[in-house]
Amino acid sequence: MTLLQVKDLTVEYHTDAGIFRAVEHLNFRLEQGKSLGLVGESGCGKTTAVLAMMRLLPEAGRIVGGEARLDGTDLLRLSPTEMREYRWHKISMVFQGAMNALNPVRTVGSQIEEPLLLHETTPRNRAKEEVARLLDLVGVSPSRANQYPHQFSGGMRQRAMIAMALACRPRVVITDEPTTALDVMIQAQILDLLQELQAELNLSIIMVTHDLGVVAELCDDVLVMYGGRMAECADADTIFNQPAHPYTRRLLLAFPDINDPRAELASIPGFPPPLDNLPPGCRFEPRCDAATAACAHEIPVDVEVAPGHRASCLLARPRKG
């Protein structure tokens, strides 16, 4: 069952330096109890897309068009008050960088308690118990609720942020780079934790990341973004084994393969396109090794390569058989 469906999402930043289109015509769906990976280089619009869904864009950000239906309700059309109710109740978020997302001068427990009290999920006198339950759920000793963020290790802070995201029992949790800045062992622990929680609570997870390892580990479906647009979208297996978009292929080559540790990593020459100077045709054309003359001026449309597998490339053809 489709829980969250995003259609044609377009987001612009209106700044003194001009208007920048950070996300353009983005489409994807998230199934109940599944996880979707949002993958791409820094600045490709991943975080902007999820912040737009959460209606938490910075002042300069404008949602220009599209819809994001959660269980039939369009999040982008809700009034700010209604959205305030929806956030955390229905859709919550683990913010990028757990150190900065926790207020350094307040105890971790009091910060986890905050959404409980604000959304009146738990009566005031039972809030402390609920905080203890949440901390226990994410594997942090409840006795540490009275400590400050600086007394927590990086992994524990991330666990605390996950506990906070789960406070009001949401159906969708967005995690923005949940494992960046953590060492490999802790990364694995956090991913395990997310997987356990997903199974236990029947959560749907959107995982924003640039780490293909995380995607392979955890995600059912993958959306690859480039320059604010979808490059390719399919289930994880297809993305890793039968990528249809040249960018996805190059991205995979830039990532170490455990089965072939001696294979050379290939970086993608050039840089992602600057948002104020986007190429007129396909956004990946200047860096694409398969580009044809048409790619330079024709904007590719989504091609259904196979059922459930879309690629935005002029060269993509429906797979036979």
């Binding site: 956030r87 900065n100 997302a101 959404p115 604000l118």
Partner: protein, 311 residues
Amino acid sequence: MSESFWRSFVRKKAGVLGLTMLVSIILVGILAPWIAPFDPDDPITATSADVMAPPRAGHPLGQDEVGRDVLSLVIYGTRISLLVGFAASLIIVLLGCAIGLVAGYAGGWVDTLLMRITDGILVIPALPLMLVIIAVAGRGITNVILVIGLLTWTYMARTVRAQVLSVRERQFVLRARAIGVSHLGIVIFHILPQILPVIFASATLDVSYAILSEASLSFLGLGDPTLVSWGSIINRAFLRGAVAKGAWWYLVPPGMALAWVTLGLALLSNAVQEIVNPRLGAHHLFDERKMVLLLRRRPSGPESSPQEPSG
């Protein structure tokens, strides 16, 4: 913040000295009726020998032109000077924080409007304006406190606004917004605690500024005529010709008291600012003790003329 802040503070000798100076003068003010040898309000039974009499047994700081004990005057004057200082800086802190927080958090035209008003008040020379207002409004202590407070909050507002501008961009503010904390809640529970130390450091300086302003107003004859403060003592001494008579004991003690409080507050404020913003302090390698250790560990010659840390 609080615990580690206190631990860093006790390590700063100058800061502890400043706090001691401040606490001692506050105690003098509170305990004035018990420690002052005479009450300035008592009926005066002075003979001509008591007029501007120099220090002697019984009157360690001499007497004024009507035979009152100068030491007692200075001790009682502490009360008014400190009262004006703290009351005015309370206004400064409340007004400055409110305006700085609103301007910094709201941004946009609210920020522009508030900051232009702040600039407007900032560019008017404070003392002449105070003189004019007091001359029109009357010489009560309330007026003095209000005038000092209402003309001095601008620095606080600018400092607070600058801090808010940086704190509001931090990720935990976005997180608080996502959770559903109201704007007021974000400002009070998430932003304000971050900038309290800065406000405190700035407020200590405001106290000494307010005390000095009161002294200036009183010296110029615009203080409360019914009350004794350090400024009014100096004003009387000046008007009654203490300078011509060489009665230094009448002029110097209130001046010393002013210097004592101002120095204490400055030391305190510096120490707090150094803790809040460690970059103001010396580089860690220039810590004298650590420098010596580093030099001693050099294999070339442990005792060979350790250089003085420079810079």
